[in-house]
């Protein structure tokens, strides 16, 4: 079931948990033996602490949810001093999801994370608004992504996974820019921008009016984007967006993903990640695949 994503990031199986949906892993240890997972990607972390957005931060939508949590976290130094010692010996890959609103924050954060022995990779979240560029995210233009990935690449020497925003017109172009700037892999999709209104009260349901859509409802969009990106780039692609069971996970692999992440589904069944790993193993046995890596891009016709 092993998957090698390159530059030292080897997963015991293709299943990881998505940032912001699995806490620091500690919240789920009553439900999942982390040793059954390929990796966990911890909460989005920024150089400096962030309070996040006001409540309400969540609205349920058909087969999905919107969130505007706003990257609430205690900052990279707090992570290093307080959280890292608690989670570094988990028997799985622990990846840090790094975010920032200025180039300097990304670079400084990556430098500090580079010193942590037990963090084999950063997942770079480029969907956060860049305050210096008037709030536009780095991840929505090729120029923006080239800049942030190449600067982080200079200081970060382990596996650099770049998490792509789906809120773009041509995701393959963005992925190619990330690859050219030195990314070891790309993961996609982050949440889709959405909105929900309470008609009775004539008010938005979220404090920030708009938020990110996730859950089962985004799967067809995510699958299409993974397929487009996998055809375009040579580096491994990590697929996510609405994966709720092993069949969904297999579909992403067939579309070209080398590994997958499970997000919102963790809220519905806190044990789902381990179940998906088991289910993928069953699928391989049932269809006569010796290795799970044989599924990558094996879409026929």
């Amino acid at each position: 079931m092993t998957i090698d994503l390159g530059r030292g990031l080897v997963l015991r199986n293709p299943v990881m948990t998505a940032s912001g949906t699995f806490g620091y892993g500690e919240e789920y240890t009553d439900f999942v033996d982390l040793a059954q997972l390929g990796g966990i990607i911890v909460k989005g972390t920024t150089l400096n602490p962030r309070q996040g957005n006001p409540y309400p931060r969540m609205a349920e939508t058909p087969s999905g949810m919107l969130n505007c949590v706003g990257l609430q976290n205690k900052g990279v130094p707090y992570f290093i001093n307080t959280i890292y010692p608690r989670i570094k010996d988990f028997d799985t890959n622990v990846l840090l999801n790094l975010s920032g609103s200025t180039l300097e924050d990304y670079v400084r954060g990556a430098e500090m994370i580079n010193t942590l022995d037990k963090i084999p990779a950063i997942e770079l979240n480029v969907s956060c608004p860049n305050v210096k560029q008037g709030g536009m995210a780095f991840g929505v233009t090729c120029a923006g992504i080239t800049q942030v990935v190449s600067e982080v690449r200079k200081v970060y020497h382990k596996h650099l996974m770049v998490k792509l925003s789906p809120n773009v017109t041509n995701i393959a172009e963005i992925a190619l820019a990330a690859e050219a700037a030195g990314a070891d892999s790309v993961s996609l999709i982050n949440t889709l921008m959405g909105m929900a209104i309470d008609a009775e009260r004539r008010q938005p349901k979220l404090s920030m009016v708009t938020g990110g859509l996730s859950g089962a409802c985004v799967k067809p969009v995510a699958l299409r984007m993974v397929w487009q990106v996998a055809k375009a780039v040579k580096i491994p692609v990590v697929g996510l967006g609405g994966i709720s069971n092993a069949t969904d996970a297999v579909e992403f692999m067939l579309a070209g993903a080398s590994a997958i992440e499970i997000g919102t589904a963790n809220f519905i069944d806190p044990a789902i990640s381990a179940k998906v790993a088991d289910g993928m193993r069953d699928y391989c046995e049932r269809h006569g695949f010796q290795k799970v890596s044989e599924l990558i891009g094996a879409l026929e016709g």
């Binding site: 912001g20 949906t21 789920y28 439900f31 969540m58 939508t61």
Partner: protein, 253 residues
């Protein structure tokens, strides 16, 4: 330890728009303290994708049973209300931190508004076992909103207010004459936020210890997603993990 388990509905009582569900697990229950809640999966509809948080109303350790008192306000709770004896419900439990129990000899008031009375039942039962006899102050819009009053009365003195005066004193819980007549050492509250804020004001004005149980919208219920935060004196805290019970000193209201 938290767990996911399929419970079987073994008993159901209907009270207008509310329903009492008695649920049994094959396995012994984990340790549950008053004020904790469960996350219930409501199957079969795209509009009930996320679990629904519901307080633990009662616990019967010997029979591996818990009870939930659910008010039907939307699709998810209506689905729960339509469940039949013999149906299975998938629960994640026990979640959150419970109320701080009083010590013997303390005078205790339990204030509940609407369906917020649900967690106070198990709280009162647990106190009674420790030799503390609580007083309930329960409020609703009308008499029909107050369910299981007999059950509450069997544990402690039960005072009632209704906004239309159809049962007990007329008005809100904060207007009840008991506030003028008696003093309490500990006040426990669960109900609509505005009511809890009003009770917290009284408690603060009289320098009385007070714990409230918040009902924020939740996704994970485990402290992982940070959707359910309350802006407290310690910053944004997850109601599901740091709460749902908070001492009013920690809150900004």
């Amino acid at each position: 330890m938290k767990q996911i388990a399929d419970f079987t509905l073994v008993g159901k009582e209907c009270y207008g728009t509310s329903v009492l569900l008695r649920l049994r697990d094959e396995q012994p229950l984990p340790e549950i303290v008053p004020g904790q809640f469960v996350q219930v999966r409501v199957d079969d509809s795209p509009s009930t994708y996320l679990r629904r948080p519901i307080s633990i109303h009662d616990v019967d350790v010997a029979n591996h049973e818990i009870s939930l008192l659910v008010q039907m306000v939307g699709e998810g709770t209506r689905h729960l209300g339509a469940a039949n004896v013999g149906d299975q419900l998938n629960l994640v439990l026990p979640l959150g931190n419970g109320y701080t129990l009083p010590t013997k000899g303390e005078r205790v008031l339990l204030v509940g508004g609407g369906i917020g009375i649900a967690p106070l039942y198990y709280l009162a039962k647990t106190m009674a076992l420790k030799g503390v006899k609580p007083t309930f102050l329960l409020g609703g819009k009308k008499a029909a909103d107050l369910v299981r009053v007999d059950a509450y009365s069997s544990i402690g003195e039960t005072l009632i207010t209704t906004e239309d005066g159809s049962l007990g004193e007329k008005g809100m819980v904060t207007m009840h004459s008991v506030w003028q007549q008696r003093q309490f050492d500990k006040i426990y509250v669960c109900g609509p936020k505005r009511m809890m804020m009003a009770v917290a004001d009284i408690a603060r004005a009289n320098n009385v210890w007070c714990e409230v149980s918040l009902e924020h919208m939740m996704a994970c219920g485990l402290g992982a997603c940070l959707c359910c935060v309350e802006d407290t004196v310690e910053g944004n805290l997850c109601v599901c993990k740091e709460g749902p019970v908070f001492n009013t000193r920690r809150l900004k209201w």
